[in-house]
């Protein structure tokens, strides 16, 4: 999924009505958001965090210092490890590590659904065939409030 499409999908999930336009930069096609007032923002997770704030859903970035750091850590993991590798072995390692991390957790931060879950889900979708999705869904699909909207969006995209 191209970064721009992913961000548009995120906008929808966040309930942001006015869609932004994104350009892409460089060989990795890094998304760029031109904000109305102020400089542009570059980078998938940077823009995603910005959108979350725009939607007044800061809790998706974590509530405590620890949660905030954990969210950012997994966002970084998404753009460096999940996006950065394409060899089968690397991907297998990523999946194995994530699975083992999530064994005793519902979400990446523990019990709260955050932006890290959304972006990691989007990112993994690229190479987890539908048959493997249950590994994650098993953990992510919990009837938590709020999270349903996001999952619907994420699943809808995954089903495309």
């Amino acid at each position: 999924m191209a970064a721009a499409a992913e961000l548009t999908l995120l906008e929808k999930c966040l309930g942001l009505s006015k869609g932004n336009k994104y350009s892409a930069q460089g060989e990795r096609q890094i998304p760029v958001l031109q904000t109305n007032n102020g400089p542009s923002l570059t980078g998938l997770t940077t823009i995603a965090a910005h959108l979350v704030q725009q939607a007044n859903k800061e809790y998706l970035l974590g509530s405590t210092a620890e949660e905030k750091a954990v969210v950012q850590q997994w966002l970084e993991y998404r753009v460096t490890q999940v996006d950065g590798h394409s060899s089968k072995d690397d991907i297998r390692t990523v999946l194995k590590d994530l699975n083992s991390y999530l064994e005793d957790k519902v979400y990446l931060t523990g019990y709260n659904f955050t932006l890290a879950d959304i972006l990691l889900y989007y990112g993994l979708h690229r190479f987890i065939g539908m048959s493997h999705l249950p590994v994650l869904l098993h953990n992510t699909a919990s009837p938590q409030q709020d999270s349903l909207d996001f999952l619907t969006g994420a699943k809808a995209e995954a089903a495309r």
């Binding site: 031109q34 940077t46 910005h50 970035l61 950012q72 850590q73 590590d97």
Partner: protein
């Protein structure tokens, strides 16, 4: 919480520097573990540093650990910091780990280490200077600063990797390095061993994936929209309103161009191409085309500009070629000089002089410099052992000897290298050597030679460099190369050769020798100028008033930056020395190198046969100019850039702006009533124009081209948002708005035509003719955006500027230049030598194609009947096919036929 670190792990630097922030908020224990210990239970691969939190959770990302420490101290996250940290993780780290791997694990130095990180460092420097903030995310030191500082410290603590020209980065780095938490972290991690302290850790790491082919990139640096102050907007509007009045009078063209005291005088040289090599695209972008852009820019600034180049004609290679072709060296030079001149004319290179090195002036000036060097004791004599063919009565250059390889016994080893085992050979070590010309056996003879005493000239050279380099625009690679030559120590260099085709050595006992080309080739610039004007010394013996810009590929740096300055300094005759040495990296072709012998790549004389206009070639070559790093020519990319940047962006904007004036306002520029949005746009365009000037003044040619495209993008957005084509049908107010938008847009188009002039001179002239831009505005580019097409100005006929490049067209060109010609007979340059049909026949076909092409165009323009057009098109295609057949182009070229 517990922090796990490992000896020499670079991540410890930022983490320890940030740890101070958390002091008093939580207890921090530090444990040292081995580099391969798996601390984090869920991660397969070892990772340090790691912070285990009191909750039991782990932070294994260096940035996340630092962020956590900052968050504990009450700091709040912001977009800009997030952006820097994301950039650090995705862009800086891969580049940096490659550089550190080269430096620490592989023991490389200089360019090898620096080039992976150059772009990243430049990015930081630009961001700092553009925002004019001392720190990355604002006025105070913050998380982004610590994370980036910690990442960069191991490399940048060695001043060799922190070039002075990155001034903003330099002072940012010094500021942070001098702070106590950073200092302590550096001492703890590097233990005063410098970067080598990282070796135990880095050796155990896998080779960074960056090393596998991410080094070549044609992608631009990003564009950022700056925030504007009210003053900036007001100033831009004031300048705009002054319009044409603010243009200074156009200075008449002088002939000859001479420097004028008190004015800016710019002398530009492009490396002299060797006469019997047809230049390929890499040679063209490396020097002549780059220098041409700067020369044209310099003239637009009304600086006194002299741009010169010429063919380098002396030397062994010419003698060999002459023998092969059965001509005299002079005849060879005469023949090839014309080929060169034609190629550059086709590329629209605006030389004031395109001369040659085989002239009496060359002899006179070279001998004069030599005599002065002798008189001042800077020339040594020594004996060199060489092979001499008694039969041909001459010493043999390496390429004239063949024999048995002393290492592997291969029979046909060359004088300099064995093709079989690849080892380098000293020609006198060859067994059973043979003269390649007469096949007799040469003998080893000693020959007296002259040497330039570089060690003795080292001191004046270093003094001159110290005076010249700071604040100048020498490219970083040139500085590196000179620095490494000086570091390795200067050695005497032989300046004579046992040849006939060269400048004679005016010294007793050396009558049968000539100067070695590298000694006198750089003197060619002086002699070419002397052939242009007898007042050449006003340019070349006038260092106070003349700025000398020399353009070349990086392999030429030592001769221009070191050897020639030594000769000139030693001659003590007040020579003008290079003020700005502009060296490019290399241009590759598709995935490999250009190769004349294998027929791979596009050479100057072939570009014109592709049907792609010279300006498109210029644009694409400048767009991918190997500025700061190697780049690659790619057909697909060329198609992409032509269709996206030229056709859809630039061409589309300029054409629309002009069309609106023609269609909606009868060809007259409408009244403009500026709203606050328009004023902002004016200011943005002005800012981008100033950025363009800053870049070109620093000879950052490729980056400045981006500014043109950015302005055009702004323009397109502006039209798109304001929809003049709808408003023109609306109320009075709407119609006025349509007028303002159209008027402003067409003025931006006019500005773009001038900014484009150095890059695409023909397209620029076409736009200016279409818009009927007043002549003074065409030849001067100020630093402000002026209204050059005021209300009421009548424009001319507007038509599209660019053509789409089609996939199949590009695909067939790619195949044509991919080495399919490898088996074809060697083709020195002239097109007719490789044709299978006679030149007259081809000329006839070409004329017919042109004629038929015109017929088709006329019919299309008249909107003639479709079937009629189709029939004529079919004829045209058939003619083109015949022509291609006659030229032997798309078909397999016959093997081993026709050796001229």
């Amino acid at each position: 919480m517990r922090l796990f670190v490992s000896e020499g792990a670079p991540g410890s630097l930022p983490v320890l520097a940030a740890a101070g922030r958390a002091q008093g908020r939580a207890e921090l224990l530090i444990s040292t573990v081995g580099p391969e210990e798996c601390v984090v239970p869920f991660l397969t691969r070892p990772k340090v540093p790691v912070l285990q939190l009191d909750s039991g959770n782990y932070l294994f990302s260096t940035s996340a650990i630092c962020r956590y420490f900052f968050l504990l101290s009450g700091w709040e996250q912001d977009d800009l910091t997030n952006q820097w940290l994301e950039w650090e993780a995705t862009e800086l780290q891969p580049a940096l780990s490659a550089a550190l791997y080269y430096l620490v694990v592989q023991g490389k130095k200089g360019e090898d280490v620096f080039s992976p990180v150059r772009r990243a460092l430049t990015h930081i420097d630009h961001s700092l200077s553009r925002r004019s903030c001392p720190f990355l995310a604002g006025e105070t030191e913050s998380l982004a600063d610590i994370v980036l500082w910690g990442a960069l410290y191991p490399l940048l603590q060695d001043p060799a990797y922190l070039p002075e020209e990155l001034g903003a980065l330099h002072s940012w780095f010094q500021t942070l390095s001098s702070q106590e938490p950073c200092q302590r972290a550096a001492e703890t991690v590097l233990k005063q061993q410098g970067v080598l302290a990282l070796r135990p850790y880095l050796q155990k790491q896998p080779q960074p994936s960056f090393l596998e082919g991410r080094a070549v990139s044609n992608e631009p640096e990003e564009e950022e929209l700056a925030t504007l102050s009210e003053e900036e907007i007001a100033m831009a509007v004031a300048a705009w309103e002054k319009g044409l009045e603010s243009l200074p009078p156009v200075q008449p063209q002088q002939n000859p161009v001479l420097p004028v005291a008190g004015e800016k005088n710019v002398l530009i040289t492009s490396a002299l191409p060797y006469v019997n090599n047809v230049p390929h695209l890499g040679n063209i972008i490396g020097c002549v085309l780059s220098a041409d852009v700067f020369a044209r820019y310099s003239r637009l600034r009304q600086w006194n500009t002299l741009y010169l180049c010429g063919t380098d004609e002396y030397g062994t290679a010419t003698e060999t070629k002459a023998m092969e072709e059965g001509l005299t060296p002079q005849e060879i030079c005469d023949k090839y000089h014309v080929i060169h001149a034609d190629i550059y004319r086709w590329f629209n290179i605006s030389f004031d002089i395109f001369g040659r090195t085989t002239t009496p002036q060359q002899t006179k000036i070279t001998q004069d410099i030599f005599q002065r060097l002798v008189a001042r004791g800077f020339v040594l004599q020594d004996t060199v052992e060489q092979l001499r063919c008694e039969h041909c009565a001459r010493f043999l250059a390496d390429r004239f000897v063949e024999g048995m390889c002393p290492f592997c016994g291969y029979e046909e080893a060359r004088g300099d290298q064995c093709d079989k085992c690849g080892k380098l050979i000293n020609a006198i070590e060859l067994k059973k050597p043979q003269c390649k010309v007469c096949r007799s056996c040469p003998v080893v003879k000693s020959s007296r030679h002259l040497f330039l005493d570089l060690p003795k000239l080292g001191k004046p050279l270093e003094e001159w460099l110290e005076k010249t380099l700071p604040g100048s625009d020498w490219t970083p690679n040139a500085r590196f190369i000179i620095r490494s030559w000086l570091r390795d120590g200067l050695k005497p260099r032989c300046i004579t050769r046992d040849l006939k085709w060269g400048t004679p050595v005016p010294l007793e006992g050396f009558e049968d020798k000539v100067f070695y080309v590298w000694f006198d080739a750089t003197i060619g610039y002086l002699s070419i100028t002397a052939n242009y004007t007898d007042q050449w010394e006003k340019w070349w013996k006038n260092p106070e008033q003349v700025s000398l810009y020399q353009f070349m590929a990086k392999d030429n740096v030592p001769f221009h930056g070191l050897v020639f300055p030594c000769s000139a300094l030693g001659a003590e005759d007040n020579y003008t020395l290079v003020s700005h040495l502009i060296a490019t990296e290399y241009l590759n072709y598709e995935d490999g190198k250009f190769s004349k012998s294998r027929g791979v790549g596009v050479f100057g004389d072939m570009a014109q046969d592709t049907g792609i206009p010279a300006d498109i070639w210029r644009f694409y070559l400048l767009y991918i100019r190997p500025e700061g790093q190697d780049s690659a020519f790619s057909w697909t990319d060329m198609l992409l850039k032509n269709n996206s940047e030229l056709l859809n962006n630039l061409g589309n904007f300029i054409n629309r702006a002009g069309m609106f004036v023609s269609k909606f306002f009868g060809g007259f520029v409408p009244e403009m009533v500026l709203t606050s949005d328009d004023r902002r746009l004016l200011a943005h365009v002005t800012l981008e124009l100033q950025h363009y000037h800053q870049l070109l003044e620093k000879v950052r040619i490729r980056d400045a081209l981006r500014s043109i495209l950015t302005i055009s993008r702004h323009g397109n957005q502006y039209i798109q948002v304001n929809e003049p084509w709808k408003r023109i049908k609306g109320s009075e107010a709407d119609r006025q708005r349509a007028g303002t938008v159209t008027g402003l847009a067409v003025n931006i188009a006019a500005l773009l035509s001038i900014m484009l002039q150095p890059y695409m001179p023909t397209v620029s002239a076409t736009i200016q003719a279409q818009l009927q831009l007043p002549p003074p505005a065409c030849s001067i580019l100020l630093t402000n955006f002026l209204c050059t097409l005021p209300a009421g100005h009548q424009i001319g006929t507007v038509s599209p500027l660019f053509q789409k490049l089609e996939n199949d067209q590009i695909e067939s060109l790619r195949q044509r230049f991919s080495g399919g010609q490898a088996k074809a007979p060697p083709k020195p340059a002239a097109v007719e030598t490789m044709t299978t049909a006679g030149p007259q026949q081809i000329q006839v076909l070409m004329d017919e194609v042109t004629k038929q092409g015109n017929t088709v165009r006329e019919l299309k323009a008249q909107k003639a009947d479709k079937n009629q057009v189709a029939a004529e098109v079919a004829k045209l295609l058939d003619l083109k096919k015949q022509l291609a057949l006659a030229e032997g182009k798309p078909l397999e070229t016959p093997k081993g036929k026709k050796k001229k």
